[in-house]
Each structure stands twice: as structure tokens, then as C-alpha cells.
């Protein structure tokens, strides 16, 4: 064996890290578990996707069939629509005026603050 081989073997032996760290074993097990879970989900995802697609196609067909089956309103000469039978009642005094004890405090305060701010800015 040459010096080169001896030194090479010594250098390679020095690179040997010893036992595997526990975190690597745990990582591999976790990755395997994740992968297995993903694969377990895959058939369900495919089933769900195909189900949704079927429902969408059925809905589109129903809409098309429904719209074709409804007869359009006849057009041409004919009687016009009757006026609405309910006539609006006359306005009484006080209609549209707020009454009662409700005071919109928040709105009033906001308005005052906005006014003050405008004055200060000016």
C-alpha cells in the first residue's frame, strides 16, 4: 500500500461521523408518515373533485334545459298592463319628521369634531 492510499484511508476514516443522530431517524419517520397520509388522501381528493365536476355539469344542464322550457312572453299587439290598484295615500302632517327622545349623540359629536378640524385646518 502506498503512502497515498494510507493517507487516503486515514482521511476517509476521520470523516466517519459515528452513529446517526436521533433527529435524522425521527425526520425520516415523520416524512414517511406525511407521505403516507398524503397518499391516503389522494383517492378521496380525486373522488371529491370528480363529484364536484359532475354536480357542476348537472347544474349547467339543468339551467340550460330550464331556460329552454320556459315559454317566452308573447310580444305584439295586445292589452297593456293594468295600472296598480293600490293608490298611494295622502301625506299627513308630521310624516318624515323624526320625533321622540332619540338623540344621535355619536353623529353629533363626530360632526362637531369634523367642524372643529375643518376650522383649525383653515
Amino acid at each position: 500500500m502506498t503512502d497515498l492510499e494510507t493517507n487516503l484511508r486515514a482521511e476517509l476514516a476521520a470523516r466517519d461521523p459515528g452513529p446517526v443522530p436521533a433527529r435524522l431517524v425521527a425526520r425520516i419517520a415523520a416524512e414517511r408518515e406525511t407521505d403516507a397520509g398524503r397518499r391516503r388522501l389522494r383517492p378521496w381528493a380525486a373522488w371529491l373533485a370528480s363529484g364536484l365536476a359532475t354536480v357542476a355539469v348537472a347544474a349547467a344542464l339543468l339551467i340550460v334545459i330550464g331556460s329552454l322550457s320556459v315559454r317566452p312572453a308573447p310580444v305584439g299587439a295586445g292589452a297593456s298592463a293594468l295600472p296598480s290598484p293600490a293608490a298611494p295615500g295622502p301625506l299627513r302632517p308630521g310624516d318624515g319628521v323624526a320625533s321622540g327622545g332619540f338623540v344621535p349623540v355619536a353623529q353629533v359629536v363626530a360632526g362637531v369634531l369634523a367642524f372643529i378640524a375643518l376650522v383649525r385646518l383653515a
Binding site: M1, T2, D3, L4, E5, T6, N7, L8, R9, A10, E11, L12, A13, A14, R15, D16, P17, G18, P19, V20, P21, R23, L24, V25, R27, I28, A29, E31, R32, D35, A36
Partner: protein, 183 residues
């Protein structure tokens, strides 16, 4: 029965749970050796962890392709070596700038200084090898595999292994000429 003879993977697709459990056990039993080999090839324990994790996941995903469980070691070994080769090549594409390692002062005590210089020279020469050459060198001089076993492990002809070994040794001699002398 323990070990690879316990099952013929892929022959009974109905028994997924048992087969996957056995397969996981096969991989787990080889993580230690795989980690050590990957570290020696890559020269870096963190890279080796990534390579072993990749190899284990790849093996797990492609377990249905392994028809003969007796071939598990060679099959997994090949996946591992490929993972290491990918990392070495990626490292070449994105080289890391080395901090000036030679700046430190070595105590001027004959043999110690010689040892440090010798180790440094061989380490640099090893790291400069082409990934394929480095892999055969490690399998030959660290794992002590025969040329035939290396060929089987990597999936190349024996002649290619020999030529890679010769080329690698030539590069090492050129890179570290002071180490080449008959004892």
C-alpha cells in the same frame, strides 16, 4: 424471519400495511450506515442528513419497483449514492466560498505539523475530485468494497469503476504529490 428474506415486496399488493411496515423497518435498519457513508462522501454531516432523508423518502415512494427484497441493499445503496451525487453536483453549480482555512498557525512541532499538512492536502484533493470519482474512491477505500460490488452498487460496468478509480488516484497524486511515495 427477519431481514430482507422476510418478504417479497410488490408481490402481494393487497397486504399494503404489512409490506409498508416491513419496508419501513428495512430502511430504518440501514439509516446508520447510510448516514456514515453519505457523510464520508459529502464531507459534511448536515448535507449527509439531507441526502439520507431524500434517499429514504425516494426509496419509500418507489418501493413497488423493488421486486426482490434480497437486492434491497444494492437498490437502496444506489438511491443513496445518487442522492449524494446530486448534492455534489449541485454544490459544484453553486460553489461555497471557503473561509481561509490556511490562515491559522500550526504549532511548529515536526510530526504534528506534517500530519496537519498531509491531512489538509488529501482533504483538498478529495474535495476537488469529480463527484463520480469521489464516490468510487469512498466505496473502495472507506467501505472496502470490491470493484465488482462497487459496480453493482452504482449500476455501472466494472471497467468503468476501474477507470474512474485510476483517474481519481491520478488526480489525487497530482493534487498531493508529497503523499505519493512507497513506504
Amino acid at each position: 424471519m427477519d431481514g430482507p428474506q422476510a418478504l417479497r415486496l410488490g408481490e402481494r399488493p393487497g397486504r399494503v400495511t404489512d409490506a409498508t411496515d416491513d419496508f419501513a423497518a428495512l430502511i430504518d435498519a440501514r439509516i446508520d450506515g447510510a448516514y456514515r457513508l453519505a457523510t464520508v462522501i459529502l464531507g459534511n454531516a448536515l448535507d449527509a442528513e439531507d441526502a439520507v432523508a431524500d434517499a429514504a423518502l425516494n426509496a419509500w415512494r418507489s418501493r413497488s419497483r423493488l421486486r426482490d427484497a434480497d437486492r434491497f441493499d444494492a437498490w437502496f445503496g444506489r438511491i443513496l449514492v445518487n442522492a449524494c451525487r446530486d448534492r455534489l453536483r449541485s454544490r459544484r453549480r453553486h460553489p461555497v466560498t471557503q473561509i481561509e482555512a490556511m490562515a491559522f498557525e500550526v504549532p511548529d512541532r515536526g510530526d504534528f505539523r506534517d500530519r496537519v499538512h498531509r491531512s489538509d492536502a488529501i482533504a483538498r484533493a478529495l474535495d476537488a475530485l469529480d463527484p463520480d470519482e469521489r464516490i468510487v474512491v469512498v466505496l473502495r477505500f472507506w467501505a472496502d468494497l470490491s470493484v465488482e460490488s462497487i459496480a453493482d452498487r452504482i449500476g455501472i460496468p466494472e471497467g468503468t469503476v476501474k477507470s474512474r478509480l485510476n483517474r481519481a488516484m491520478g488526480h489525487l497524486r497530482t493534487a498531493a504529490p508529497s503523499l505519493e511515495s512507497e513506504p
